[in-house]
Amino acid sequence: MMAGPADGISDGLSDVASTPVLELRGVTAGYGRATVLRDVSFSVAPGSVTALLGPNGSGKTTTLRTVSGIVKPSAGSVLLGGADVTRKAPHRRAEKGLCLIPEGRGIFRSLTVRDNLRMQVPPWRRGAAVDAAITAFPVLGQRLDQVAGSLSGGQQQMLALGRAYLADPTVVLLDEVSMGLAPRVVDEIFGSLRALAATGVALVVVEQYVTRALELADQVVLLDRGTVGFCGSPATLDEAELMKSYLGVDVASGGAAPSADAGGDADAAGGRGAPKATRSGTARLRSRG
C-alpha cells in the first residue's frame, strides 16, 4: 500500500485484538426459491475498510441484508465481534454495534430531520444524538424541522449517513451511498467516509464507483454470481480481472474491439502499479480543478 488514509488504520490493526468485528461463515441466502449467495465467507478486522465489489446481481446488497438480519440465511452463520447473531433480529444486531446504511435513501421520508435523527439512534443513545450528526453534517442543523422527504438527494443521504455517527457502531455497512448523486456531492460523502474510517470504525462499502471504493479499502471482496471470486488486499487485485467482471469484456485486450495498443493497456491497467496510478491520477485531477 502507498501512503493513504487507510494506512494508519492498517498499523493500528496489529494493536487491536484479532477477533474480527464481522465474520461470515459459509453463508447461503436468497429470496424464496432464488438462491443469491452461495457459501460466502469473509471477515472484517476492527477498524478496517472492506470494499465489497461485483457486477449487478452478484449479491452485494443481499450480503449486506443478510449481515444486518433483514434476510435470513438458509445455511452458514454471521458473527458480530465473535458472537453468533445468525438468528438475531436486525434491531438486536444494531444493539451489538452494527449499522446498515441501506440502498436508496435510508431515511423516514415523512418525518422531520430531527425526528429522523431521533429514530436513527437506539433508545439508549438518544442523549447527544442530534449534536453529533450536526457536527458531521452542518447542513442538517439548518433544516432540523424540515420534512426529510423534501431534502435534496445529497442532504437525504447525509441524513442517512448521520446514523453512522450517532449510533456509535463498531461496523458500518454502506450500500451504494453515492447512487444518483452529483459528483460534487459524492466527493463530500466520500470525504465523510474517510473521516469515519479514521475514527476506527470498520466499514463495509458497496459502491458503484469502484475506483473510489478501492482508494478507501484495506480489503477487497469481489463477488461473482453469489460466490466470493476474490478476497484480499486491493494491491493484489488484478484490475484487468475486475474490469472483466464488471464490463464483461476483456478491456485489456480491447474486447470486441481488438486494438493495436492492447498490450500497452494491459500493462498499465493490470498489476501492482494500478492503485498508485489511481491515486496520483486523482491528485492530478484535483489540482487542475
Binding site: 432464488a34 457486477p55 449487478n56 446481481g57 444486518s68 433483514i70 436486525p90 434491531h91 444486531r93 444494531a94 449499522c99 441501506p102 431515511i107 423516514f108 421520508r109 418525518l111 425526528d115 431521533r118 429514530m119 436513527q120 439512534v121 437506539p122 433508545p123 438518544r126 438527494g153 449510533a167 447512487m179 444518483g180 452529483a182 459528483p183 459502491e207 458503484q208 464507483y209 469502484v210 475506483t211 473510489r212 484490475e239 464488471y246 464490463l247 464483461g248 469484456v249 478491456v251 480491447g254 474486447g255 470486441a256 474491439a257 495498443d261 500497452g264 493497456d265 494491459a266 500493462d267 498499465a268 491497467a269 496510478a277 489511481t278 491520477g281 486523482t282 485531477l285 487542475r288 480543478g289
Partner: protein, 922 residues
C-alpha cells in the same frame, strides 16, 4: 337556534366515530392490516361494560376503566399477534381473517349473552342539563365530546413528540429501516394495536348508553361508520380522520332535520358510505397505493385429474338428484344452497379467476330479487324472461362497480365496493322499485307448475338444480376459453396483459358485468324459493362473509363454489331463519366458521396445498400421465409487415421533484439491435416505461413508425407493434407455458373489443396456436409447454417471456434486462435467439442490459445514459473505447487510470464533463 340540537347530537356521535376511526387508522397504517373487526372490539367493550355495571353492580367509572384499559389492550395484543401472521398475506386472506374475528366475536357474544334478553345501558354520565337559548344541552353530551377530543388530541401530541409515537410514524415509512436502526417494529406495532383497540373500546363504552338496546351486529356496524371518517383522513391522517368523524356525525344529524320524508331520508345513514365511496373514487391515485396482491396466486397449481373431477361431479349430481327424497321438509334449504352455488360461481369468477374484489355481491342478489318481483308481479312479464331480465338489470350496476376497479386496487377497491353495498342498502332498499319501506316485503312468485302444494318445492328444486348445472358448465367453459385465459392473466399480471395488447379495462368491466348478472339471477332464484323477501335479508355483512368464504374455500371451479355454498348453508352463518339448526347450534357453527377463517389465514401457503403423496396417488388413480413431447415442424419465419422505428425525442420524466429521465433522444429501427445501457438508476427502465405508455413524460415525444403515440395507452401501443418484456418478469404465473406464449398473440386479438374477448374464430385460433408453436420452438421451450410458469426456473421464465413477445404481432421489442438471473450459457443462447429473429424476421429490438458480454455480442448500436441524461451514442466498438462509458460504469473522474494511458491527451478534461453528449460513430 333550531340547528343547535342537531349540531350538538351530531358532534356527540361524530366524536365517537372520530375516536373509532382514529384507532382504526392507527392500526391499519402501522401494520398494513385493515381491521374489519374494529367494531367487534367496541361490541365486546359495550357488553363487558353492561355486564360489569348491570350484572355485577360495579361503579361505572371502574367498569369503563376496566373496559378501556384492560379489555382493549388485551384484544389489541391478540389482534397484533394475528396481524403479524398476516404481514405477508394477500388482501383476501387479510379480509377473511378479520371477518373471521368479527364472526367469532359476534357469535361468541350471542352465545354468552342470550340475544333473546333485552339489554340496555342507562346513561351513566352526569346528566345535568342547561339551556342555550331554547336548546337543552346535557352534561353527558359535553363529556362524550370532551373525552373523544382529549383522547384524540393526546394521541396526536403523543405522535408528534413521544419517541414511541415518532416510531409509529417511522414504522409506516419503513419497518425494515426502523429495525436496522435499533428499534423493534414488532414492539412499536404492539403498542399501536393496544392504543387502537383501547380507542375502539372507548367508543363502545361511550356508544352503549346512546343505543336503545345492545345488539352485537348493530354495534359492530355502527363502528363501520368510522370507515368514512378514515377515508376523509385518506387512511393516514389522524386529526383529519377525527374531524372527518365529527363532520359526518354533524351532517348526518342535519340530514335528519332537512330530509324528513322521501328518497333523501336514506341519506343520513348512508352518508358515511357515500363519503367512503366518493372519496375513494376522486382521491389522487398515488395517495392510495396498496402493494399486497388481492388473491394469493397458488404457485403449485396441481389439479385433480379430469377423470376424477368428472367422476366426483357425477357423484355430486347423483346425490343432488336424490336430495328431495332424503331431506324431507328441509328441501327449501337445499334449494337455497343451490342458488348460493350460482352466487359463488359469480363471485369466484370475479375474485378467484380474475383477481378483483367485490364486497357488494349481496347487493346484486338484492337487485335481482327486486327486479324479479316487480317484473313478474307488477308488469306480468313471463317468469323465464323476467329471470333473464333481472340478471340483465344488474349488468349496468356491475359496470358502475367496475369503475373503482379501474382506478383502485387491493384494500381501497374492497372498501369502495363495501361502501357501494352499504350505500345501496341505505339509499335504495326502501325505495318502491326495490323492497319498499313496507315491512312485509316483496312477493317473488314461481311459475304455476312450481306452485303445486305437494310437488311444487320438489319441482322448483330440480329447476334450480338444472340451472346450476347449466351455469357450472358455462363457467367451466368460460374458464377454458379465451376469456378465462384473459381473466387469469389479468389476475396474474395486469401490466403483462396490457403490454401484450389487451385493453384491460374492457376485461375488468366485462368480468364485473358477468359476475353481477349471475349473482342477480342467483338472487332472483333464491327469492322465488322463499317466495317472500324483505330488505333485512340482504345485509352488507353477508358480502363480507361471502368474500371470506370464497377466499378460504378449496379446489378449482366449480368445487369452491359448491363447498362455499353448502358450507354457508350448513353453518347457517347468515340465516337465523334456516330451519336446520337451533339458534344455539347456529351460534357454535358461526363461531367454528370464524375460527376456521382465522386458522386458514394464519396457515402458511405451502401447507394449504394437497400433500404431495396424495397428489401422486390421485394422479395414478386418474390415469394421468405426462403427455408425450410434441414435435413441431419449423416454418420459415415471416418477415415483419413493414420497416418502422421507435423514436424518442427530448424525453423528460419526473416523479415528484425527482427528474428520472432528462432529455433522452434515441431511435430503434427494425432490423437492428439497439442497446440502452448505463449504471443503476440511470433512467433506462423509466425510458422504457415511457415508450410503452406506463408513465407520463413531462416533456418530449415518443413516436412509433413516424406517428406520435402520446394518446395511446399501453395496450394500443402493443397493438401498433410494440412488444415488451420486464426486468421483474410480468408473466402469467398460473397459466402454462403454452398459454402464456399464446397470449402474446391472443391478447392483441382481444384488444379493446368486448365481443372478441369472448369469441374467437377457428382461423384465428389456428393462427394463435401456430404463432405460439413457432415462438416456443425458437426459444427451445416446447418440452416444457404444459408446465405452469410460476414453477419454472428464472432462466426458463425469461425464455417464456421472450417467446410471448415473439409470438405477438410486434415488429419492435423492448427487452428490459432479459439476461438477469441467467447463467452464461443461457445468456449466450438468449443472445443467439435475438440475433436470429432480427436477421430472419427483421424485428427491431431495444435492449436494456447489464451483462456487457451480451451487449457487446449482439448489439449493433448503443445509447448510454447516466443520471437520466444521454452521455454517449455510437457503435459498440466506439462505446468500449469511450472513456465516458467507462466512467459511467466504474465511476468518478478517475477514469483515465482505469483505461490506462492509451487515451488521447485531452481525455481527462473530456471525461469530467459528464453531462456532455459525446457522439462517437464509426
Amino acid at each position: 337556534m333550531s340547528y343547535l340540537p342537531f349540531v350538538v347530537s351530531g358532534l356527540v356521535t361524530g366524536s365517537v366515530y372520530g375516536l373509532a376511526g382514529t384507532g382504526l387508522v392507527l392500526t391499519y397504517k402501522t401494520s398494513a392490516v385493515f381491521n374489519f373487526a374494529h367494531g367487534a372490539i367496541a361490541t365486546v367493550a359495550a357488553y363487558l361494560f353492561w355486564d360489569l355495571t348491570v350484572q355485577h353492580g360495579a361503579p361505572w367509572g371502574l367498569a369503563a376503566a376496566i373496559c378501556v384499559a384492560v379489555g382493549g389492550p388485551v384484544m389489541g395484543l391478540v389482534l397484533e399477534l394475528l396481524a403479524r401472521q398476516l404481514a405477508a398475506a394477500s388482501l383476501s386472506t387479510k379480509v377473511a381473517a378479520t371477518v373471521g374475528v368479527l364472526l367469532v366475536v359476534q357469535a361468541g357474544t350471542d352465545l354468552v349473552f342470550d340475544p333473546g334478553v333485552t339489554r340496555n345501558v342507562a346513561q351513566y354520565l352526569p346528566d345535568a342539563s342547561f339551556h342555550v337559548g331554547s336548546t337543552v344541552i346535557r352534561a353527558s353530551q359535553l363529556i362524550v365530546i370532551g373525552v373523544a377530543v382529549v383522547a384524540s388530541a393526546a394521541l396526536w401530541v403523543f405522535f408528534r413528540t413521544a419517541r414511541l409515537g415518532v416510531a409509529m410514524r417511522a414504522v409506516v415509512d419503513s419497518p425494515v429501516l426502523l429495525d436496522v436502526a435499533g428499534t423493534s417494529p414488532t414492539r412499536v406495532r404492539r403498542w399501536s394495536w393496544i392504543i387502537g383497540a383501547s380507542f375502539a373500546s372507548a367508543s363502545g363504552v361511550l356508544l352503549a348508553p346512546l343505543l336503545s338496546e345492545l345488539n352485537s351486529i348493530n354495534l359492530t356496524f355502527l363502528v363501520v361508520t368510522a370507515f368514512g371518517a378514515a377515508a376523509i383522513g385518506a387512511f393516514t391522517n389522524l386529526p383529519a380522520t377525527f374531524l372527518g368523524g365529527l363532520l359526518i356525525g354533524v351532517v348526518q344529524q342535519l340530514c335528519t332535520k332537512w330530509f324528513t320524508g322521501g328518497f333523501w331520508t336514506g341519506l343520513s345513514p348512508a352518508l358515511p358510505f357515500l363519503v367512503l365511496f366518493v372519496v375513494l373514487l376522486v382521491s389522487p391515485r398515488r395517495r392510495l397505493v396498496e402493494q399486497a396482491p388481492v388473491v394469493q396466486r397458488a404457485r403449485s397449481t396441481w389439479r385433480m385429474p379430469l377423470a376424477l373431477q368428472g367422476l366426483s361431479g357425477l357423484g355430486a349430481l347423483v346425490f343432488l338428484l336424490f336430495v328431495p327424497s332424503i331431506v324431507g321438509f328441509h328441501l327449501a334449504d337445499y334449494t337455497t344452497a343451490l342458488t348460493y352455488v350460482l352466487l359463488f360461481l359469480a363471485l369466484g369468477l370475479l375474485v378467484r379467476t380474475s383477481g378483483q374484489v367485490s364486497l357488494a355481491h349481496v347487493s346484486f342478489m338484492a337487485i335481482g330479487v327486486c327486479a324479479m318481483s316487480h317484473l313478474t308481479v307488477d308488469h306480468h312479464v313471463p317468469w323465464a324472461l323476467a329471470l333473464v331480465l333481472s340478471g340483465l338489470i344488474a349488468v349496468p350496476i356491475g359496470a358502475v362497480l367496475s369503475i373503482p376497479a379501474i382506478r383502485l386496487s387491493g384494500l381501497y377497491l374492497a372498501l369502495a365496493t363495501f361502501g357501494f353495498g352499504l350505500l345501496l342498502q341505505y339509499m335504495f332498499y326502501s325505495e318502491s322499485y326495490m323492497f319498499t319501506s313496507n315491512a312485509s316485503g316483496l312477493t317473488v312468485p314461481r311459475p304455476a307448475w312450481f306452485n303445486d302444494v305437494t310437488h311444487g318445492d320438489r319441482r322448483y328444486y330440480y329447476l334450480v338444480l338444472g340451472l346450476v348445472v347449466v351455469a357450472t358448465v358455462a363457467i367451466i367453459t368460460v374458464n377454458r376459453s379465451r376469456l378465462g385465459r384473459l381473466l387469469r392473466a389479468l389476475a396474474d399480471s395486469p401490466t403483462g396483459l396490457a403490454t401484450s395488447g389487451t385493453s384491460i379495462n374492457v376485461t375488468r368491466v366485462l368480468v364485473f358485468c358477468g359476475s353481477a348478472f349471475l349473482a342477480a339471477v342467483a338472487g332472483a332464484l333464491q327469492g322465488a324459493n322463499v317466495t317472500s323477501v324483505s330488505g333485512s335479508s340482504y345485509q352488507p355483512l353477508q358480502s363480507l362473509v361471502f368474500f371470506a368464504l370464497i377466499t378460504i374455500s378449496v379446489g378449482s371451479e366449480p368445487w369452491y363454489a359448491i363447498l362455499a355454498a353448502f358450507g354457508l348453508q350448513l353453518s347457517g352463518v347468515l340465516y337465523p331463519i334456516s330451519s336446520l339448526q337451533s339458534p344455539k347450534t347456529q351460534g357454535y357453527l358461526t363461531l367454528a366458521f370464524g375460527i376456521a377463517a382465522v386458522l386458514y389465514a394464519v396457515t402458511p401457503e405451502d401447507r394449504r396445498q394437497v400433500p404431495m403423496a396424495l397428489q401422486r396417488s390421485l394422479d395414478r388413480l386418474g390415469f394421468r400421465r405426462p403427455a408425450p413431447p410434441r414435435t413441431i415442424e419449423p416454418v420459415p419465419m415471416a418477415p415483419v409487415r413493414s420497416a418502422g422505428s421507435l423514436k424518442v425525442e427530448g424525453l423528460k420524466v419526473a416523479f415528484g421533484g425527482l427528474v428520472a429521465v432528462d432529455g433522452v433522444t434515441l431511435e430503434a429501427p427494425t432490423g437492428r439491435i439497439t442497446g440502452l445501457i448505463g449504471p443503476n438508476g440511470a433512467g433506462k427502465t423509466t425510458t422504457f416505461n415511457s415508450c410503452s405508455g406506463l408513465n407520463r413524460p413531462s416533456a418530449g415525444t415518443v413516436q412509433l413508425d413516424g406517428r406520435s403515440v402520446a394518446l395511446a395507452g399501453p395496450s394500443a401501443r402493443a397493438r401498433r407493434g410494440l412488444g415488451r418484456t420486464f426486468q421483474q418478469m410480468e408473466l402469467f404465473d398460473t397459466l402454462t407455458v403454452r398459454q402464456n406464449v399464446a397470449l402474446g398473440a391472443e391478447a392483441s386479438n382481444a384488444g379493446p373489443n368486448a365481443l372478441r374477448h369472448l369469441i374467437s374464430s377457428p382461423a384465428e385460433r389456428r393462427r394463435v396456436a401456430a404463432a405460439a408453436d413457432q415462438a416456443m420452438l425458437l426459444c427451445g421451450i416446447v418440452d416444457i409447454e404444459d408446465r405452469v410458469v410460476g414453477a419454472l426456473s428464472t432462466g426458463e421464465r425469461r425464455l417464456v417471456e421472450l417467446a410471448r413477445c415473439l409470438a405477438g404481432p410486434f415488429h419492435l421489442l423492448l427487452l428490459d434486462e432479459p439476461s438477469s438471473g441467467l447463467d452464461p450459457s443461457e445468456t449466450q443462447r438468449f443472445g443467439e435467439i435475438l440475433r436470429r429473429v432480427v436477421a430472419e424476421r427483421g424485428l427491431g429490438i431495444l435492449l436494456v442490459e447489464h451483462d456487457m458480454t451480451l451487449v457487446t455480442a449482439i448489439c449493433d448500436y448503443l445509447y448510454v445514459l447516466d443520471f437520466g441524461k444521454p452521455i454517449f451514442e455510437g457503435t459498440v466498438v466506439a462505446a468500449l473505447q469511450s472513456p465516458i462509458v467507462k466512467a459511467a460504469y466504474l465511476g468518478g473522474d478517475e477514469v483515465e487510470d482505469a483505461v490506462g494511458a492509451a487515451e488521447p491527451p485531452d481525455a481527462p478534461a473530456d471525461t469530467r464533463s459528464r453531462g456532455r453528449h459525446a457522439k462517437a460513430g464509426v
